[in-house]
């Protein structure tokens, strides 16, 4: 059954590759079939249990093909199918032939290739094929990021993405080849009883962590996600960075990990969560801000995974299962609401032509659908009940609290992690109140914002699909527990079967009641206000005679209090030239938050390498006499080595 579904998925994807350039509607149909096939395969694996394996009598690159789908990979496959399908519907109308005649076809082709290769990464159980699919999807993603490569910033972002991805790929080449050298085969599978493989985990952590956008390896992420077309940002943020998480989950489950690994992953997770949201608060580019929230959410996922690894190391099944289940559920949740937010942001940016939040405002009036769906995504990502973000954060919290109550050594890490996770939630709320308030509410701050228009029905449909996913997981988390339980059991079979934690049923009831009552109260209060009499008047402005939209509070001022606390790492750059005349006519003031790690660590390091290389170039000047001298010196040095060292 799984095989049939996967055959449909593969056939659909291949057809869509062929149809991409010429037939947009055929592409959408084929891609939809492919995405549905992937979803069907994932659901079948969860319903039937066990692992699906397929070994055709064929080989690629000298290695026999071996496909395998278990609960862990099916968990990711379901997300990829759903978000990829919704993204295709969105992309068909967002990056259409009419709007982008030069690049629309290429965009569809690379989209299909990206999803196809991501699926292959999940399916293959051979290290060499894993690397091939990995490399191909990285390239497809590069071409998607630079789809509209006329802008300088876009090309720079694409280059940074490509460079960072190849650094990650380099680590993974090392990881897989060392693994193959030590096991004698490229075949991948559970090898938990080989403790000598444990140190390889550090290579995997660097390679997969870089791809996932974990702090401080996230330097490529904000610019790539901000400058890519919005449907691409959504797939990058919702799906592609999750493949890094998949790698970490997969190989921390299959291979033994060093005892310190769990602690390191958890610490990196906490750092990513808190600093990701702090950087997000400092941004005034809407899409860049959303990109930094990916770093934050990857951090939350890593907190869950890290504590699960600690628990596995210490044989603490009870809270380890909760932490991992929370982390995994957050993979789905982040995929859903971040894709939703990027779709909505794409509609907003398309309607107004700018990503600068200080030029937007009051967009709810022109774009009620987009605004309400953005608000839904904002509430979900802030971890507010009764939506899905809260469910996964709550599971991680429960894991941390139970770890504290167990009074083991993990408690000393669980206490600060729990407090900082709470801090992250409150900071995310502050950030999204800022975004919603500045972008959607109030008065338009520019002409572009006042002439905005609602996005096309297909785009709205894609957003509604993702939004209903957020609501479904929020209102009925108990139905998704069996899926999580199966994935968790596959990750660590030593823990045995997982039982549903009873509170999920109670939480479902609380969430359902809350949603019902909040909706009823809102409608009732609106009606009551209408019955009492509604009157419109200008906003209270202390009686000022000429209020303008530019007097509204800006995003920068809004975040000022919190960015002040994080100044030590944000290092905001202020331009505030002091007015020198007696009656200055114009005064300007600006502030922007750079990518600190990139500008203060990576770029100086890169500069140093370049300077060294330039210095070394002086030895190459084209004078033959000098080259002969180098040869002579080389031979002399070798001779000295032979004489002194005593060759064997």
């Amino acid at each position: 059954m799984t095989g049939t579904w996967l055959a449909i998925a593969g056939a659909g994807m291949l057809l869509s590759l062929l149809a991409g350039f010429r037939a947009p509607n055929g592409w959408l149909a084929a891609f939809g079939a492919g995405a549905a096939g992937a979803l069907g395969a994932a659901v079948t694996v969860f319903a039937e249990g066990g692992t699906w394996e397929f070994r055709p009598a064929a080989s690629l690159g000298g290695e026999a093909i071996h496909l395998r789908l278990d609960a862990v990979s099916a968990f990711f496959l379901a997300l990829f199918g759903l978000v990829g399908g919704a993204g295709a519907v969105y992309a068909r109308s967002y990056w259409s032939e009419a709007a982008h005649p030069r690049t629309a076809g290429a965009g569809r082709f690379w989209w299909s290739l990206l999803l196809l290769c991501l699926g292959l990464v999940l399916l293959t159980a051979n290290g060499l094929h894993f690397l091939m699919a990995w490399e191909l999807f990285t390239l497809a993603a590069y071409y998607l990021v630079t789809l509209d490569r006329r802008g300088r910033e876009v090309r720079a972002a694409g280059w940074l993405y490509l460079a960072a991805s190849h650094l990650a790929a380099l680590c993974l080449f090392a990881f897989f080849s060392l693994l193959a050298a030590r096991t004698g085969s490229w075949e991948l599978g559970p090898l938990r009883d080989r403790p000598e493989l444990a140190p390889l985990f550090w290579l995997a952590l660097f390679g997969f962590g870089l791809k996932a956008g974990m702090f401080p390896l996230h330097v490529w992420l904000p610019s790539a996600h901000a400058n890519a077309p919005s449907h691409v940002s959504a797939i990058l943020s919702g799906v592609t960075i999750k493949i890094g998480i998949y790698g970490l989950v997969r190989f921390s489950g299959w291979l033994p990990a060093p005892p310190a690994a769990g602690w390191v992953v958890a610490a990196l997770g906490v750092a990513s969560a808190v600093l990701g949201v702090a950087f997000a608060l400092g941004q005034h580019d809407l899409k860049r801000l959303l990109a930094y929230h990916s770093v934050e959410n990857i951090g939350i996922i890593l907190i869950g995974l890290g504590f699960a690894m600690v628990a596995a190391d210490q044989g603490q099944a009870a809270w380890g299962q909760l932490a991992l289940a929370g982390g995994l559920l957050h993979v789905w949740n982040h995929g859903l609401f971040k894709a939703l937010l990027f779709f909505a942001a794409g509609a907003l940016v398309h309607a107004t032509g700018t990503r600068e939040m200080s030029r937007l405002g009051g967009l709810w009036r022109a774009m009620p659908w987009t605004a309400s769906l953005f608000a839904l995504g904002a509430a979900a990502i802030s971890g507010l009940p009764p939506l899905n973000g809260f469910v996964s954060e709550w599971l991680v919290f429960l894991g941390l609290f139970d770890a504290t109550l167990a009074h083991g050594p993990a408690a000393w890490a669980a206490i600060p992690a729990a407090v900082l996770l709470g801090l992250t939630g409150a900071l995310a709320l502050a950030c999204f109140v800022k975004v919603c308030g500045v972008v959607l509410l109030g008065a338009p701050r520019s002409a572009a914002a006042s002439h905005a228009h609602e996005c096309a029905p297909a785009q709205r449909a894609a957003m509604v699909a993702l939004g209903s996913g957020c609501v479904a997981i929020g209102l009925a988390p108990v139905f998704f527990w069996p899926v999580l339980a199966r994935a968790v059991a596959d990750w660590q079979p030593a823990w045995g079967g997982v039982v549903a934690p009873a509170p999920l049923a109670a939480l479902s009831r609380v969430h359902a009641a809350l949603a019902l009552l909040a909706g009823a109260a809102a409608v009732w209060l609106w009606r009551k206000a209408g019955r009492n009499g509604l009157r419109r008047a200008v906003t209270w402005d202390c009686g000022y005679a000429a209020p303008t939209a530019r007097m509204q509070y800006t995003a920068g001022s809004f975040a000022g209090i919190i960015t002040g606390w994080f100044e030590w790492i944000l290092r905001p750059v202020r331009h505030a030239p002091r007015p020198l005349e007696i009656l200055p006519a114009r005064v300007s003031c600006g502030q922007h938050t750079p990518e600190t790690v990139l500008e203060y660590v990576v770029e100086p390091a890169g500069g140093a390498v370049m300077r060294l290389a330039l210095a070394a170039r002086r030895f190459q000047h084209g004078r033959v006499q000098a080259y002969l001298f180098y040869l002579l010196m080389g031979v002399a040095a070798l001779a000295a080595l032979v004489f002194l060292g005593g060759s064997p």
Binding site: G361, F401, L405, L429, A502, A506
Partner: protein, 301 residues
């Protein structure tokens, strides 16, 4: 069905009693200042009057301006219903319900903040910015306090956490929670409910443009939140679960009264802090809760 029948009387209790607290605080302030002050029931009169009044909406506001307060009120009421009421029992608790309580308060903050941002007023933007920023520190303190209670009782469910008395760390926990109460409810020294200068307000400036029933809902929600924090503080410190029902009810009422009078005295005797000093005080509250957590840890180990 039985659950609803069980919840209804407690809902009624919260609904009716909550607006009493601001009245008591105002009475205490008047008494310290040597005035007669407004009647204790003044908020009830205000709510009844506002409920009958018409609504003036900002020309910029969407229906979210009215939905926000409604959602916030439901969230605060939900959080209140999660809290056990000593002898009157609590909602059927479950593991981790204290996190639901904290996040319901966050949902309420989102609702009021959203409604305030609707108006596009710089004053209200300023108030919201302060509210959500200081809430970050208050939430850290609150989670630490909850962790301390969890460690002390070995449970993550409110009903079990709040039944016994806090141990040696009771004083630290009470002090920390009291500061959080003042911050979350926008009392002096964080905010002055009586101020009339828009630039210096936090909570009051967020509701500048609200009127009629939505304002009534906001004021009622704020009073429920005050009662919630006063009750949480009392139950965290007193061994409510170990007393006979009558005594426990009296202890709860006395505790809440003491906290309320305390808030009134603080408000009469202290000046409000400069905004840049606010994070310092909230960090102090966090540290108090952290020390309480460490003491609970030592006691339990």
């Amino acid at each position: 069905m039985t659950l609803i029948l069980d919840l209804l009387p407690r809902f009624a209790l919260w609904f009716v009693l909550a607006p009493l607290l601001p009245g008591i605080i105002n009475k205490v302030k008047a008494w310290v200042a040597g005035r007669r002050g407004p009647p204790v029931l003044q908020l009830y009169y205000d709510l009844a009057r506002l409920w009958r009044k018409g609504v003036v909406l900002s020309t910029l506001a969407s229906p979210g301006f009215v939905f926000g307060p409604a959602v916030a009120w439901v969230a605060v009421m939900g959080a209140a219903l999660l809290l056990p009421l000593g002898p009157a029992g609590g909602a059927p608790g479950f593991r981790g319900d204290m996190l639901v309580l904290i996040y319901l308060l966050a949902l309420a903050r989102f609702g009021t903040a959203w409604a305030a941002m609707e108006t596009g007023s710089a004053f209200e933007g300023m108030g919201v910015a302060r509210e959500v920023s200081y809430a970050v520190l208050a939430e850290a303190a609150l989670i630490t306090a909850m962790l301390a209670l969890c460690v002390q009782t070995g449970s993550t469910s409110l009903a079990a956490m709040l039944a016994p008395a806090a141990g040696a760390d009771a004083a630290l926990l009470a002090a920390g929670l009291f500061v959080v109460l003042l911050a979350e409810n926008c009392r002096v020294p964080f905010d002055d409910p009586n101020t009339h200068l828009e630039l210096t307000m936090i909570h009051e400036v967020m509701v500048l443009d609200h009127s009629g029933p939505p304002l009534a809902v906001i004021l009622h929600g704020a009073s429920v939140k005050l009662l919630l924090f006063a009750l949480l503080l009392t139950e965290a410190v007193l061994p409510v679960g170990k007393l006979a029902p009558g005594v426990a009810a009296a202890a709860l009422a006395g505790g809440v009264l003491a906290v309320t009078v305390g808030a009134g005295l603080v408000e009469s005797l202290l000046a409000r802090l400069a905004f840049r000093r606010v994070p310092l005080l909230l960090t102090t509250a966090f540290l108090l809760c952290l020390f309480a957590l460490l003491m609970a840890w030592k006691g339990g180990a």
